[in-house]
């Protein structure tokens, strides 16, 4: 015999799970950014300050590159546009729906993490103002996860693995960059909204679970796509890759 309050709670649970699942099913296909106004202001400020040193470093590198090789001025702009447009590629997910790659893994391999931290952040600003996705106050948090942590993870993996196996290095760099972006996003949300009873860990599990369902297959898809893309680049644009230094010390 189920008592009345617990029956009510059970009904409530089923209702919320149904709502959550139906939302997951209708999820539009885009990278997950923290929307404008979602973070309380102390956290928004905190992530801006966390990202600032990387921006300063990235801009310094940019200025240096342009002074050294003035012709990179146009190339960097076009490369930035390429990373932005890359997120419009159709990427099939194992779950059936289609989605878009983040492109941060490939960007870090081609241009390095310093330049990516700037270019990725500008791309995020464009996403906020051109497709109303993301935000201005949350730009710091989104840039930290997508333009700083993602590229750094990709760059590190790429540097460690490229001498052993090229395809594995590309795959892991892209997949782990994608995955780490979402882990960081989940942590950022959990820090801002810890669970009332189970605290940060509980909140991390909640936000993580919501994203993990779609993100783990997506990370694998992005990894596979990036391997294919890199192979195609080697045959179509080998000279460009070489001038970027992306083919140095590879297996």
């Amino acid at each position: 015999m189920i008592s009345k309050p617990s029956l009510r709670r059970r009904t409530m649970q089923i209702a919320t799970i149904t709502v959550a699942l139906s939302l997951l099913a209708t999820r539009p296909a885009h990278a997950m950014h923290i929307m404008e106004g979602f973070l309380p202001w102390p956290w928004a400020l905190f992530w801006w300050l966390m990202t600032l040193p990387f921006w300063i470093w990235g801009v310094r590198r940019l200025v240096f590159l342009m002074r050294e090789r003035p012709e990179t001025r146009m190339m960097l702009g076009v490369a930035g546009a390429f990373t932005f447009v890359l997120s419009a590629l159709k990427l099939p997910s194992v779950t059936g729906s289609s989605s878009h790659p983040t492109g941060t893994g490939l960007g870090a391999i081609l241009f390095g993490p310093a330049v990516m931290s700037v270019i990725g952040s500008i791309a995020l600003l464009f996403q906020a103002l051109l497709i109303a996705h993301g935000g201005l106050t949350t730009l710091g948090a989104n840039a930290f996860s997508m333009a700083v942590v993602g590229p750094f993870v990709a760059w590190g993996v790429w540097r460690m693995m490229r001498k052993r196996s090229l395809w594995l290095a590309v795959f892991l760099a892209a997949a782990l960059a994608n995955l780490s972006t979402y882990v960081v996003t989940s942590a950022q949300l959990a820090l801002a909204y810890p669970d009332a009873t189970s605290g940060f860990i509980g909140a991390l599990m909640k936000f993580g679970a919501i994203f993990a369902v779609t993100q783990i297959p997506l990370a694998i898809s992005e990894g596979i796509l990036t391997v294919l893309l890199f192979n195609a680049l080697q045959s179509n644009a080998a000279a460009e890759l070489r001038s970027l230094g992306a083919l140095e010390n590879v297996a």
Binding site: A44, R73, G77, G135, T197, F207, S221
Partner: protein, 248 residues
């Protein structure tokens, strides 16, 4: 994306200085975040959506569509805030519960995020990025950064056009018929796009050098900004309403 940009260029508020609009939208967002009251958020949502529609000249359907797209993403995060999980009893089992307090928090959060999003949409609907970036020169933003931003803006639309054309060509040849075909097509598309964008960058660089370009900010035409009396008055009225609602 094209439509949002088109609205920004055609906006009736384009004569207002971009930094003016930027500061206004950011102040509204900051007030919503710092005051964090449902009444303030509701007022900001109505004001900003209203201004985009009635003064900015956007259509109601488009403004609603932007908010609906943002709402879908928000809903996911809000559900996680509304549902609380934790250990129950001595058995060590975990359960998910919804309490009135958590529901209220989630509701207030949803409203606040909608208000901030509509303030951001107001900026996006009335101010082209190009002008915003050019206006940032005043703050001594590094020229290298501005150049890259402006180049990116110009290239994004060209590249997207190329991407769409390539994608349509692939689709018409059953390029996205199966999982493996989609992967192959996407990879071919990405690499061709990279090569195409690289070459267009090189051509642009060559064309500029042929015209004596030696670095530095690219000159661009900006419209003449005028300071009407109505704009500051309305901006002050909006901010006063929000502050007034917070004092109530």
């Amino acid at each position: 994306m094209h439509r949002l940009d088109a609205y920004a260029h055609a906006s009736r508020l384009r004569h207002v200085h971009p930094l003016n609009k930027f500061a206004f939208a950011l102040t509204v967002i900051a007030l919503c975040l710092v005051l964090d009251r449902p009444a303030v958020s509701a007022a900001a949502l109505l004001w900003m959506a209203g201004l985009s529609l009635l003064w900015g000249g956007a259509t109601p359907g488009f403004v609603l569509r932007l908010l609906a797209a943002e709402g879908l993403f928000l809903a996911l995060g809000v559900v996680a805030v509304a549902v609380q999980i934790g250990p129950v009893g001595q058995g060590g089992g975990w359960s998910a519960t919804v309490t009135p307090a958590s529901l209220a928090q989630a509701g207030a959060l949803l409203l606040r995020a909608f208000a901030c999003a509509s303030a951001m949409n107001f900026l996006a609907l009335t101010t082209p990025i190009l002008e915003l970036a050019a206006a940032a020169q005043r703050f001594r933003a590094p020229a290298a950064l501005l150049d890259v931003t402006l180049m990116m803006y110009r290239s994004v639309f060209l590249l997207l056009e190329t991407l769409m054309r390539m994608q349509r060509a692939q689709e018409s040849r059953n390029g996205y018929a199966s999982w493996s075909a989609t992967m192959r097509s996407a990879a071919a598309l990405g690499s061709q796009l990279f090569a195409a964008s690289w070459r267009s960058g090189q051509r642009m660089e060559m064309a500029l050098q042929a015209r004596g370009y030696e670095g530095g900010a690219l000159p661009m035409l900006t419209p003449a900004y005028t300071l009407s009396r109505t704009w500051p008055a309305v901006a002050c009225l909006v901010l006063a309403t929000l502050l007034g609602l917070a004092c109530l």
